[in-house]
Protein backbone atom coordinates (compact mmCIF):
# COMPACT_ATOMS: atom_id res chain seq x y z
CA UNK A 1 0.00 0.00 0.00
CA UNK A 2 1.27 3.44 -0.92
CA UNK A 3 0.05 5.26 2.17
CA UNK A 4 1.16 2.98 4.94
CA UNK A 5 0.32 5.00 8.02
CA UNK A 6 -3.22 5.58 9.20
CA UNK A 7 -2.60 9.22 10.00
CA UNK A 8 -1.28 9.67 6.51
CA UNK A 9 -4.34 8.14 4.84
CA UNK A 10 -6.62 10.16 7.06
CA UNK A 11 -4.83 13.36 6.21
CA UNK A 12 -4.78 12.75 2.47
CA UNK A 13 -8.48 11.84 2.44
CA UNK A 14 -9.42 14.95 4.38
CA UNK A 15 -7.01 17.47 2.92
CA UNK A 16 -7.35 16.94 -0.82
CA UNK A 17 -11.17 16.82 -1.03
CA UNK A 18 -11.35 19.90 1.18
CA UNK A 19 -8.75 21.67 -0.89
CA UNK A 20 -10.71 20.81 -4.05
CA UNK A 21 -13.88 22.38 -2.65
CA UNK A 22 -12.21 25.35 -0.99
CA UNK A 23 -12.45 27.89 -3.85
CA UNK A 24 -16.24 27.47 -3.85
CA UNK A 25 -16.41 28.82 -0.33
CA UNK A 26 -13.91 31.55 -1.05
CA UNK A 27 -15.32 32.60 -4.40
CA UNK A 28 -15.79 36.20 -3.38
CA UNK A 29 -12.46 36.45 -1.61
CA UNK A 30 -9.52 36.36 -3.96
CA UNK A 31 -7.09 37.20 -1.16
CA UNK A 32 -7.59 33.86 0.55
CA UNK A 33 -7.46 31.92 -2.69
CA UNK A 34 -4.08 33.50 -3.37
CA UNK A 35 -2.92 32.82 0.16
CA UNK A 36 -3.85 29.15 -0.16
CA UNK A 37 -2.18 28.95 -3.55
CA UNK A 38 1.05 30.20 -1.97
CA UNK A 39 0.72 27.55 0.73
CA UNK A 40 0.40 24.85 -1.94
CA UNK A 41 3.50 26.14 -3.71
CA UNK A 42 5.46 26.35 -0.48
CA UNK A 43 4.32 22.83 0.39
CA UNK A 44 5.88 21.51 -2.80
CA UNK A 45 9.10 23.28 -1.91
CA UNK A 46 9.06 22.05 1.70
CA UNK A 47 8.22 18.52 0.55
CA UNK A 48 11.26 18.37 -1.70
CA UNK A 49 13.36 19.56 1.23
CA UNK A 50 11.72 17.05 3.56
CA UNK A 51 12.70 14.29 1.17
CA UNK A 52 16.32 15.44 1.16
CA UNK A 53 16.68 16.03 4.88
CA UNK A 54 14.25 13.55 6.37
CA UNK A 55 14.49 10.69 3.90
CA UNK A 56 18.03 10.97 2.56
CA UNK A 57 19.62 12.46 5.69
CA UNK A 58 21.23 15.22 3.64
CA UNK A 59 20.88 18.34 5.74
CA UNK A 60 20.95 21.37 3.50
CA UNK A 61 20.55 25.02 4.40
CA UNK A 62 20.72 26.08 0.78
CA UNK A 63 17.57 24.66 -0.73
CA UNK A 64 16.19 28.16 -1.37
CA UNK A 65 18.85 28.50 -4.01
CA UNK A 66 16.81 26.25 -6.28
CA UNK A 67 13.53 27.90 -5.32
CA UNK A 68 14.94 31.21 -6.48
CA UNK A 69 16.63 29.70 -9.50
CA UNK A 70 13.26 28.39 -10.68
CA UNK A 71 12.08 31.96 -11.02
CA UNK A 72 15.34 33.42 -12.34
CA UNK A 73 15.79 30.73 -14.96
CA UNK A 74 12.32 31.56 -16.24
CA UNK A 75 13.03 35.28 -16.61
CA UNK A 76 16.39 34.45 -18.14
CA UNK A 77 15.15 32.17 -20.89
CA UNK A 78 11.61 33.37 -21.59
CA UNK A 79 11.04 36.31 -23.96
CA UNK A 80 9.79 39.35 -22.06
CA UNK A 81 6.62 40.28 -23.97
CA UNK A 82 5.47 37.01 -25.41
CA UNK A 83 3.44 34.21 -23.85
CA UNK A 84 5.44 30.99 -23.81
CA UNK A 85 4.09 27.51 -23.29
CA UNK A 86 3.81 26.60 -19.61
CA UNK A 87 4.57 22.89 -20.03
CA UNK A 88 7.59 23.34 -22.26
CA UNK A 89 9.05 25.88 -19.84
CA UNK A 90 8.35 23.59 -16.90
CA UNK A 91 10.53 21.07 -18.65
CA UNK A 92 13.27 23.62 -19.39
CA UNK A 93 13.36 24.91 -15.85
CA UNK A 94 13.50 21.47 -14.30
CA UNK A 95 16.20 20.36 -16.72
CA UNK A 96 18.39 23.43 -16.22
CA UNK A 97 18.07 23.45 -12.45
CA UNK A 98 18.80 19.72 -12.39
CA UNK A 99 22.00 20.40 -14.29
CA UNK A 100 22.96 23.10 -11.79
CA UNK A 101 22.13 20.73 -8.94
CA UNK A 102 24.31 18.08 -10.51
CA UNK A 103 27.34 20.36 -10.52
CA UNK A 104 26.73 21.82 -7.05
CA UNK A 105 25.82 18.41 -5.64
CA UNK A 106 29.06 17.03 -6.93
CA UNK A 107 30.93 19.47 -4.69
CA UNK A 108 28.54 19.51 -1.75
CA UNK A 109 28.00 15.77 -1.40
CA UNK A 110 31.70 15.08 -1.07
CA UNK A 111 31.31 16.41 2.45
CA UNK A 112 28.85 15.56 5.19
CA UNK A 113 27.29 16.66 8.45
CA UNK A 114 28.14 20.14 9.65
CA UNK A 115 30.30 20.75 6.63
CA UNK A 116 27.49 20.06 4.27
CA UNK A 117 25.20 22.45 6.16
CA UNK A 118 27.70 25.26 5.86
CA UNK A 119 28.65 24.63 2.25
CA UNK A 120 25.08 24.41 0.99
CA UNK A 121 24.40 27.68 2.78
CA UNK A 122 27.48 29.28 1.28
CA UNK A 123 26.52 28.27 -2.26
CA UNK A 124 23.01 29.60 -1.77
CA UNK A 125 24.45 32.90 -0.53
CA UNK A 126 26.66 33.02 -3.56
CA UNK A 127 23.67 32.98 -5.91
CA UNK A 128 21.85 35.37 -3.58
CA UNK A 129 24.63 37.94 -3.91
CA UNK A 130 24.98 37.33 -7.60
CA UNK A 131 21.36 38.24 -8.25
CA UNK A 132 21.28 41.01 -5.62
CA UNK A 133 24.21 42.77 -7.29
CA UNK A 134 23.27 42.08 -10.85
CA UNK A 135 22.02 45.07 -12.83
CA UNK A 136 20.62 42.80 -15.55
CA UNK A 137 18.31 41.14 -13.03
CA UNK A 138 17.16 44.28 -11.28
CA UNK A 139 19.34 43.91 -8.18
CA UNK A 140 17.36 43.60 -4.97
CA UNK A 141 14.14 44.65 -6.74
CA UNK A 142 14.22 41.60 -8.97
CA UNK A 143 12.49 41.17 -12.30
CA UNK A 144 8.84 41.45 -13.26
CA UNK A 145 7.04 38.92 -15.39
CA UNK A 146 4.68 40.85 -17.64
CA UNK A 147 3.15 38.05 -19.63
CA UNK A 148 2.11 34.77 -18.09
CA UNK A 149 2.60 31.57 -20.07
CA UNK A 150 -0.30 29.96 -21.92
CA UNK A 151 -1.12 26.39 -21.06
CA UNK A 152 -2.23 24.69 -24.22
CA UNK A 153 -1.40 21.09 -24.94
CA UNK A 154 -1.81 20.16 -28.62
CA UNK A 155 -3.69 23.37 -29.21
CA UNK A 156 -6.12 22.71 -26.39
CA UNK A 157 -6.03 25.36 -23.69
CA UNK A 158 -7.52 24.00 -20.50
CA UNK A 159 -7.07 26.84 -18.10
CA UNK A 160 -5.82 30.37 -17.72
CA UNK A 161 -2.95 31.26 -15.38
CA UNK A 162 -4.28 34.79 -14.91
CA UNK A 163 -7.36 33.40 -13.23
CA UNK A 164 -6.55 32.89 -9.52
CA UNK A 165 -8.91 29.94 -9.17
CA UNK A 166 -7.40 28.20 -12.18
CA UNK A 167 -3.95 28.85 -10.82
CA UNK A 168 -5.02 27.49 -7.45
CA UNK A 169 -6.07 24.22 -9.06
CA UNK A 170 -2.84 24.00 -11.02
CA UNK A 171 -0.87 24.28 -7.76
CA UNK A 172 -3.10 21.80 -5.96
CA UNK A 173 -2.69 19.38 -8.85
CA UNK A 174 1.09 19.87 -8.75
CA UNK A 175 1.17 19.31 -5.00
CA UNK A 176 -0.83 16.11 -5.31
CA UNK A 177 1.49 14.84 -8.01
CA UNK A 178 4.56 15.73 -5.99
CA UNK A 179 3.21 13.79 -3.02
CA UNK A 180 2.35 10.84 -5.25
CA UNK A 181 5.76 10.98 -6.91
CA UNK A 182 7.64 10.89 -3.61
CA UNK A 183 5.43 8.14 -2.24
CA UNK A 184 6.05 5.98 -5.30
CA UNK A 185 9.74 6.83 -5.23
CA UNK A 186 10.11 5.85 -1.61
CA UNK A 187 8.40 2.52 -2.20
CA UNK A 188 10.55 1.79 -5.26
CA UNK A 189 13.81 -0.09 -5.59
CA UNK A 190 15.59 3.25 -5.59
CA UNK A 191 13.72 4.10 -2.39
CA UNK A 192 15.05 0.94 -0.79
CA UNK A 193 18.56 2.26 -1.34
CA UNK A 194 17.58 5.71 -0.08
CA UNK A 195 16.35 4.13 3.16
CA UNK A 196 19.39 1.91 3.46
CA UNK A 197 21.84 4.76 2.91
CA UNK A 198 20.03 6.97 5.38
CA UNK A 199 19.95 4.35 8.08
CA UNK A 200 23.42 2.92 7.68
CA UNK A 201 25.69 4.37 5.01
CA UNK A 202 28.72 2.33 6.04
CA UNK A 203 26.88 -0.96 5.75
CA UNK A 204 25.52 0.03 2.35
CA UNK A 205 29.02 0.69 1.05
CA UNK A 206 30.12 -2.67 2.42
CA UNK A 207 27.31 -4.28 0.43
CA UNK A 208 28.84 -2.85 -2.73
CA UNK A 209 26.85 0.30 -3.45
CA UNK A 210 28.35 3.58 -4.57
CA UNK A 211 26.30 5.71 -2.21
CA UNK A 212 27.54 8.99 -3.67
CA UNK A 213 25.63 8.39 -6.91
CA UNK A 214 22.37 7.66 -5.09
CA UNK A 215 22.71 10.78 -3.00
CA UNK A 216 23.50 12.83 -6.06
CA UNK A 217 20.40 11.55 -7.88
CA UNK A 218 18.23 12.38 -4.87
CA UNK A 219 19.77 15.82 -4.63
CA UNK A 220 19.16 16.51 -8.31
CA UNK A 221 15.53 15.33 -8.17
CA UNK A 222 14.69 17.32 -5.04
CA UNK A 223 16.40 20.42 -6.41
CA UNK A 224 14.49 20.26 -9.68
CA UNK A 225 11.22 20.03 -7.76
CA UNK A 226 12.28 22.94 -5.55
CA UNK A 227 12.92 24.95 -8.71
CA UNK A 228 9.49 23.99 -10.04
CA UNK A 229 7.93 25.41 -6.87
CA UNK A 230 9.92 28.62 -7.34
CA UNK A 231 8.73 28.83 -10.93
CA UNK A 232 5.09 28.55 -9.78
CA UNK A 233 5.70 31.25 -7.15
CA UNK A 234 7.15 33.59 -9.78
CA UNK A 235 4.14 33.02 -12.02
CA UNK A 236 1.70 33.61 -9.19
CA UNK A 237 3.11 36.95 -8.09
CA UNK A 238 4.51 38.03 -11.43
CA UNK A 239 8.01 38.75 -10.18
CA UNK A 240 11.18 37.14 -8.93
CA UNK A 241 13.57 38.74 -6.44
CA UNK A 242 16.64 37.73 -4.43
CA UNK A 243 14.69 37.27 -1.17
CA UNK A 244 13.46 33.96 -2.63
CA UNK A 245 17.10 32.81 -2.51
CA UNK A 246 17.87 34.09 0.95
CA UNK A 247 18.92 31.81 3.76
CA UNK A 248 15.73 32.68 5.70
CA UNK A 249 13.71 30.98 2.96
CA UNK A 250 15.77 27.82 3.44
CA UNK A 251 15.65 28.09 7.22
CA UNK A 252 11.91 28.67 7.31
CA UNK A 253 11.30 25.71 4.99
CA UNK A 254 13.37 23.55 7.31
CA UNK A 255 11.30 24.71 10.26
CA UNK A 256 8.07 23.92 8.38
CA UNK A 257 9.33 20.49 7.51
CA UNK A 258 10.25 19.74 11.13
CA UNK A 259 6.97 21.17 12.37
CA UNK A 260 5.11 18.83 10.05
CA UNK A 261 7.19 15.80 10.97
CA UNK A 262 10.56 15.26 9.35
CA UNK A 263 10.72 12.55 6.72
CA UNK A 264 6.98 11.94 6.61
CA UNK A 265 6.56 13.74 3.24
CA UNK A 266 2.84 14.49 3.77
CA UNK A 267 3.89 16.31 6.96
CA UNK A 268 5.38 18.99 4.71
CA UNK A 269 1.83 20.09 3.86
CA UNK A 270 0.82 20.05 7.51
CA UNK A 271 3.90 21.98 8.58
CA UNK A 272 3.47 24.61 5.89
CA UNK A 273 -0.22 25.05 6.69
CA UNK A 274 0.35 25.44 10.41
CA UNK A 275 3.42 27.67 10.08
CA UNK A 276 1.78 29.98 7.57
CA UNK A 277 -1.42 30.00 9.60
CA UNK A 278 0.50 31.02 12.72
CA UNK A 279 2.55 33.54 10.80
CA UNK A 280 -0.60 35.10 9.39
CA UNK A 281 -2.43 35.32 12.69
CA UNK A 282 0.58 36.50 14.71
CA UNK A 283 1.41 39.11 12.10
CA UNK A 284 -2.06 40.57 12.53
CA UNK A 285 -1.74 40.60 16.28
CA UNK A 286 1.71 42.04 16.74
CA UNK A 287 4.48 43.66 14.84
CA UNK A 288 6.99 41.52 16.70
CA UNK A 289 5.65 38.19 15.52
CA UNK A 290 9.20 37.01 14.86
CA UNK A 291 9.78 36.83 18.60
CA UNK A 292 6.91 34.38 19.04
CA UNK A 293 7.95 32.44 15.97
CA UNK A 294 11.49 32.10 17.32
CA UNK A 295 10.19 31.04 20.71
CA UNK A 296 7.92 28.52 19.06
CA UNK A 297 10.79 26.99 17.10
CA UNK A 298 12.93 26.68 20.23
CA UNK A 299 10.05 25.09 22.09
CA UNK A 300 9.43 22.70 19.22
CA UNK A 301 13.01 21.45 19.18
CA UNK A 302 12.89 20.94 22.92
CA UNK A 303 9.58 19.15 23.37
CA UNK A 304 7.82 18.42 20.08
CA UNK A 305 10.43 16.52 18.17
CA UNK A 306 8.37 14.27 15.95
CA UNK A 307 6.28 17.08 14.55
CA UNK A 308 2.58 17.10 13.86
CA UNK A 309 2.69 13.94 11.73
CA UNK A 310 4.45 12.03 14.51
CA UNK A 311 2.00 13.38 17.05
CA UNK A 312 -1.00 12.27 14.96
CA UNK A 313 0.48 8.83 14.36
CA UNK A 314 1.11 8.34 18.08
CA UNK A 315 -2.41 9.53 18.85
CA UNK A 316 -4.01 7.08 16.42
CA UNK A 317 -1.81 4.24 17.62
CA UNK A 318 -2.79 4.89 21.21
CA UNK A 319 -6.45 4.88 20.30
CA UNK A 320 -5.99 1.60 18.43
CA UNK A 321 -4.20 0.17 21.43
CA UNK A 322 -7.23 0.68 23.65
Amino acid sequence: MLLNKRAERLFVWIFFPLALLMPMFLEQNEYYVNKLTTIMILSIFVMSLDYLVGKCGLITLGHAMFYGLGGYIFVMIAPEYEAVNFWIYTFYICAISATVAFVIGFLVLRTNGIYMIMITLAFAQMTFYYFSDSIDFGGTDGVFVYVKPETSIFGLSLFDLDNPTHFYYLCLFSLFNTLLFFKVLIRSRFGRLVDAIHENPGRTVALGYNIFIYRLVSYVVASALGAYAGYLFTLQYGFVNPSMLSWTTSGTALVMSILGGMGSIYGAILGTLVYEGLHYSLEHLTEHWLLFMGGLIILMVMVFKKGIAGFLEDLLEKRDGK
Binding site: R189, F190, R192, E199, V205, A206, L207
Partner: protein, 253 residues
Amino acid sequence: MENNVILETEGLCKYWGGLKALDDLSLAFHDNQLHGIVGPNGAGKSTLLNMLCGHYKPTSGKILHRGESISSIKPYEFARRGIGRSFQKTNIYSNSTCLENCSVAVQRLMGGSFNFFRSRYSQKMLDEIATQALEKVGLGQRRDHIASQISYGEQRQLEIAMVLATSPEVLLLDEPMAGMGHEESQLIIDLLSRLKKEYCIVLVEHDMDAIFELSDQLTVMVDGQHLVTGSVDEVRDDPRVKEAYLGQGDEVY
Protein backbone atom coordinates in the same frame (compact mmCIF):
# COMPACT_ATOMS: atom_id res chain seq x y z
CA MET B 1 44.64 -31.11 -2.89
CA GLU B 2 45.76 -27.49 -3.08
CA ASN B 3 42.97 -24.91 -3.13
CA ASN B 4 43.22 -21.81 -5.30
CA VAL B 5 44.48 -18.61 -3.74
CA ILE B 6 41.67 -16.07 -3.86
CA LEU B 7 42.98 -13.20 -1.82
CA GLU B 8 46.59 -12.33 -1.06
CA THR B 9 48.47 -9.61 0.71
CA GLU B 10 52.02 -8.61 -0.18
CA GLY B 11 54.09 -6.65 2.32
CA LEU B 12 50.97 -4.93 3.63
CA CYS B 13 51.63 -2.01 5.99
CA LYS B 14 49.37 0.45 7.77
CA TYR B 15 50.72 3.32 9.84
CA TRP B 16 48.65 5.70 11.88
CA GLY B 17 50.99 8.63 12.16
CA GLY B 18 54.07 7.04 13.68
CA LEU B 19 52.19 4.01 15.00
CA LYS B 20 52.59 0.78 13.07
CA ALA B 21 49.20 -0.92 13.18
CA LEU B 22 50.27 -3.47 10.62
CA ASP B 23 53.79 -4.18 9.48
CA ASP B 24 54.83 -6.04 6.38
CA LEU B 25 52.18 -8.70 6.28
CA SER B 26 52.14 -11.27 3.49
CA LEU B 27 49.37 -13.84 3.65
CA ALA B 28 47.41 -15.96 1.20
CA PHE B 29 43.78 -16.95 1.65
CA HIS B 30 42.48 -20.02 -0.14
CA ASP B 31 39.21 -21.10 -1.64
CA ASN B 32 36.99 -23.37 0.45
CA GLN B 33 39.10 -22.86 3.54
CA LEU B 34 38.66 -21.04 6.77
CA HIS B 35 41.67 -18.95 7.67
CA GLY B 36 41.66 -17.98 11.32
CA ILE B 37 43.49 -14.95 12.62
CA VAL B 38 44.29 -14.63 16.32
CA GLY B 39 46.43 -12.41 18.44
CA PRO B 40 46.25 -10.29 21.56
CA ASN B 41 44.35 -7.01 21.53
CA GLY B 42 46.01 -4.43 19.34
CA ALA B 43 47.70 -7.06 17.21
CA GLY B 44 46.25 -5.50 14.06
CA LYS B 45 43.60 -8.12 13.28
CA SER B 46 40.75 -5.68 12.72
CA THR B 47 43.06 -3.35 10.82
CA LEU B 48 43.85 -6.22 8.50
CA LEU B 49 40.18 -6.98 7.89
CA ASN B 50 39.41 -3.33 7.34
CA MET B 51 42.06 -3.23 4.66
CA LEU B 52 41.01 -6.47 3.02
CA CYS B 53 37.54 -5.03 2.50
CA GLY B 54 38.78 -1.65 1.29
CA HIS B 55 37.71 0.34 4.33
CA TYR B 56 41.29 1.49 4.99
CA LYS B 57 43.87 2.10 2.31
CA PRO B 58 47.27 0.48 2.87
CA THR B 59 50.21 2.76 3.64
CA SER B 60 52.29 0.46 1.50
CA GLY B 61 52.09 -3.05 0.13
CA LYS B 62 49.47 -4.67 -2.03
CA ILE B 63 46.22 -6.59 -1.83
CA LEU B 64 45.72 -9.06 -4.67
CA HIS B 65 42.41 -10.55 -5.68
CA ARG B 66 42.87 -13.50 -8.02
CA GLY B 67 46.32 -12.17 -8.79
CA GLU B 68 45.14 -8.65 -9.60
CA SER B 69 46.11 -5.69 -7.42
CA ILE B 70 43.05 -4.08 -5.89
CA SER B 71 44.71 -1.73 -3.41
CA SER B 72 43.57 1.39 -5.23
CA ILE B 73 39.93 0.58 -6.05
CA LYS B 74 37.00 2.23 -4.24
CA PRO B 75 35.63 0.63 -1.04
CA TYR B 76 32.31 -0.32 -2.66
CA GLU B 77 34.11 -2.11 -5.47
CA PHE B 78 35.49 -4.68 -3.04
CA ALA B 79 32.00 -5.98 -2.41
CA ARG B 80 31.34 -6.05 -6.15
CA ARG B 81 34.34 -8.32 -6.56
CA GLY B 82 32.79 -10.72 -4.10
CA ILE B 83 34.62 -9.66 -0.96
CA GLY B 84 31.95 -9.38 1.72
CA ARG B 85 32.43 -8.58 5.37
CA SER B 86 30.73 -8.56 8.72
CA PHE B 87 31.63 -6.06 11.39
CA GLN B 88 32.84 -6.34 14.96
CA LYS B 89 29.99 -4.17 16.18
CA THR B 90 26.66 -5.37 14.83
CA ASN B 91 26.08 -3.41 11.67
CA ILE B 92 22.60 -3.95 10.23
CA TYR B 93 19.58 -1.88 9.22
CA SER B 94 17.95 -2.20 12.59
CA ASN B 95 14.65 -0.47 11.73
CA SER B 96 13.90 -2.82 8.83
CA THR B 97 12.74 -6.42 8.72
CA CYS B 98 15.30 -9.20 8.38
CA LEU B 99 14.05 -9.82 4.86
CA GLU B 100 14.50 -6.19 3.93
CA ASN B 101 18.05 -6.27 5.33
CA CYS B 102 18.93 -9.07 2.97
CA SER B 103 16.92 -7.58 0.10
CA VAL B 104 19.19 -4.53 0.07
CA ALA B 105 22.09 -6.91 -0.39
CA VAL B 106 20.40 -8.95 -3.12
CA GLN B 107 19.15 -5.95 -5.06
CA ARG B 108 22.62 -4.98 -6.24
CA LEU B 109 22.79 -8.23 -8.20
CA MET B 110 19.22 -8.04 -9.47
CA GLY B 111 19.50 -4.46 -10.75
CA GLY B 112 16.84 -1.81 -10.82
CA SER B 113 18.38 0.25 -8.05
CA PHE B 114 17.82 3.38 -10.11
CA ASN B 115 14.21 2.55 -10.87
CA PHE B 116 12.04 5.24 -9.30
CA PHE B 117 8.69 3.70 -10.03
CA ARG B 118 8.83 -0.06 -9.71
CA SER B 119 7.81 -1.16 -6.24
CA ARG B 120 10.56 -2.67 -4.19
CA TYR B 121 8.23 -5.56 -3.34
CA SER B 122 7.35 -6.47 -6.90
CA GLN B 123 9.90 -9.13 -7.70
CA LYS B 124 9.45 -12.68 -6.36
CA MET B 125 12.96 -13.75 -7.24
CA LEU B 126 14.56 -11.03 -5.13
CA ASP B 127 12.45 -12.12 -2.18
CA GLU B 128 13.37 -15.74 -2.71
CA ILE B 129 17.10 -15.17 -2.83
CA ALA B 130 16.93 -12.98 0.27
CA THR B 131 14.86 -15.63 2.05
CA GLN B 132 17.34 -18.32 1.05
CA ALA B 133 20.16 -16.30 2.62
CA LEU B 134 18.16 -16.06 5.83
CA GLU B 135 17.43 -19.77 5.79
CA LYS B 136 21.07 -20.57 5.24
CA VAL B 137 21.96 -19.01 8.58
CA GLY B 138 18.87 -20.43 10.25
CA LEU B 139 16.81 -17.24 10.44
CA GLY B 140 14.01 -18.41 8.12
CA GLN B 141 11.36 -18.03 10.79
CA ARG B 142 12.56 -14.48 11.62
CA ARG B 143 11.98 -13.25 8.08
CA ASP B 144 9.38 -10.60 8.89
CA HIS B 145 10.70 -9.52 12.28
CA ILE B 146 12.20 -6.07 12.72
CA ALA B 147 15.95 -6.49 13.03
CA SER B 148 16.25 -4.48 16.25
CA GLN B 149 13.76 -6.79 17.97
CA ILE B 150 15.51 -10.13 17.43
CA SER B 151 18.11 -11.37 19.89
CA TYR B 152 21.72 -10.25 19.79
CA GLY B 153 22.90 -13.64 18.56
CA GLU B 154 20.32 -13.57 15.80
CA GLN B 155 21.49 -10.13 14.77
CA ARG B 156 24.99 -11.53 14.32
CA GLN B 157 23.53 -14.31 12.19
CA LEU B 158 21.57 -11.76 10.21
CA GLU B 159 24.75 -9.92 9.47
CA ILE B 160 26.27 -13.06 8.01
CA ALA B 161 23.08 -13.63 6.02
CA MET B 162 23.40 -10.15 4.53
CA VAL B 163 26.94 -10.88 3.42
CA LEU B 164 25.83 -14.20 1.94
CA ALA B 165 23.05 -12.45 0.07
CA THR B 166 25.64 -10.48 -1.92
CA SER B 167 26.83 -13.83 -3.40
CA PRO B 168 30.38 -13.39 -2.20
CA GLU B 169 33.42 -15.49 -2.78
CA VAL B 170 35.31 -14.28 0.29
CA LEU B 171 33.78 -13.77 3.73
CA LEU B 172 35.66 -11.49 6.08
CA LEU B 173 34.21 -12.05 9.54
CA ASP B 174 35.21 -9.82 12.42
CA GLU B 175 34.50 -11.56 15.73
CA PRO B 176 31.10 -12.98 14.80
CA MET B 177 30.88 -14.65 18.20
CA ALA B 178 31.74 -11.63 20.32
CA GLY B 179 29.41 -11.22 23.25
CA MET B 180 27.56 -14.49 22.65
CA GLY B 181 26.59 -17.20 25.04
CA HIS B 182 27.85 -20.75 24.62
CA GLU B 183 24.77 -22.03 22.80
CA GLU B 184 24.63 -19.13 20.42
CA SER B 185 28.34 -19.51 19.68
CA GLN B 186 27.78 -23.17 18.87
CA LEU B 187 25.19 -22.15 16.30
CA ILE B 188 27.70 -19.88 14.57
CA ILE B 189 30.40 -22.56 14.72
CA ASP B 190 28.06 -25.05 13.03
CA LEU B 191 27.15 -22.43 10.46
CA LEU B 192 30.75 -21.58 9.69
CA SER B 193 31.80 -25.20 9.37
CA ARG B 194 29.10 -25.58 6.74
CA LEU B 195 29.97 -22.32 4.98
CA LYS B 196 33.68 -22.97 4.73
CA LYS B 197 33.02 -25.74 2.24
CA GLU B 198 31.73 -23.14 -0.21
CA TYR B 199 33.59 -19.93 0.55
CA CYS B 200 36.97 -18.53 1.34
CA ILE B 201 36.55 -17.35 4.92
CA VAL B 202 38.85 -15.08 6.92
CA LEU B 203 37.85 -15.22 10.57
CA VAL B 204 39.07 -12.95 13.34
CA GLU B 205 37.92 -14.32 16.67
CA HIS B 206 38.79 -14.24 20.35
CA ASP B 207 37.12 -17.54 21.16
CA MET B 208 40.09 -19.91 20.95
CA ASP B 209 38.09 -23.13 21.12
CA ALA B 210 36.02 -22.02 18.18
CA ILE B 211 38.93 -20.94 16.09
CA PHE B 212 40.89 -24.11 16.74
CA GLU B 213 37.89 -26.14 15.80
CA LEU B 214 37.18 -24.28 12.59
CA SER B 215 40.49 -23.18 11.09
CA ASP B 216 42.19 -24.91 8.21
CA GLN B 217 44.92 -22.31 8.34
CA LEU B 218 45.74 -20.25 11.37
CA THR B 219 47.76 -17.05 11.61
CA VAL B 220 49.00 -15.57 14.86
CA MET B 221 49.73 -11.86 14.93
CA VAL B 222 51.45 -9.81 17.60
CA ASP B 223 51.92 -6.03 17.61
CA GLY B 224 50.99 -5.64 13.97
CA GLN B 225 53.44 -8.29 12.90
CA HIS B 226 53.07 -11.74 11.55
CA LEU B 227 54.24 -14.36 14.02
CA VAL B 228 53.35 -17.71 12.52
CA THR B 229 50.99 -19.29 10.00
CA GLY B 230 50.19 -22.95 9.71
CA SER B 231 47.71 -25.65 10.52
CA VAL B 232 46.12 -25.60 13.96
CA ASP B 233 48.47 -28.26 15.31
CA GLU B 234 51.57 -26.53 13.98
CA VAL B 235 50.55 -23.27 15.58
CA ARG B 236 49.56 -24.85 18.86
CA ASP B 237 52.99 -26.43 19.25
CA ASP B 238 55.00 -23.43 18.18
CA PRO B 239 57.11 -22.13 21.08
CA ARG B 240 56.93 -18.54 19.84
CA VAL B 241 53.16 -18.56 20.20
CA LYS B 242 53.35 -19.72 23.79
CA GLU B 243 55.82 -16.98 24.51
CA ALA B 244 53.67 -14.32 22.92
CA TYR B 245 50.66 -15.33 24.94
CA LEU B 246 52.53 -15.65 28.22
CA GLY B 247 51.10 -13.29 30.77
CA GLN B 248 48.02 -12.62 28.68
CA GLY B 249 45.74 -13.75 31.45
CA ASP B 250 42.54 -13.32 29.48
CA GLU B 251 43.67 -15.40 26.54
CA VAL B 252 43.51 -18.86 28.04
CA TYR B 253 43.93 -21.78 25.72
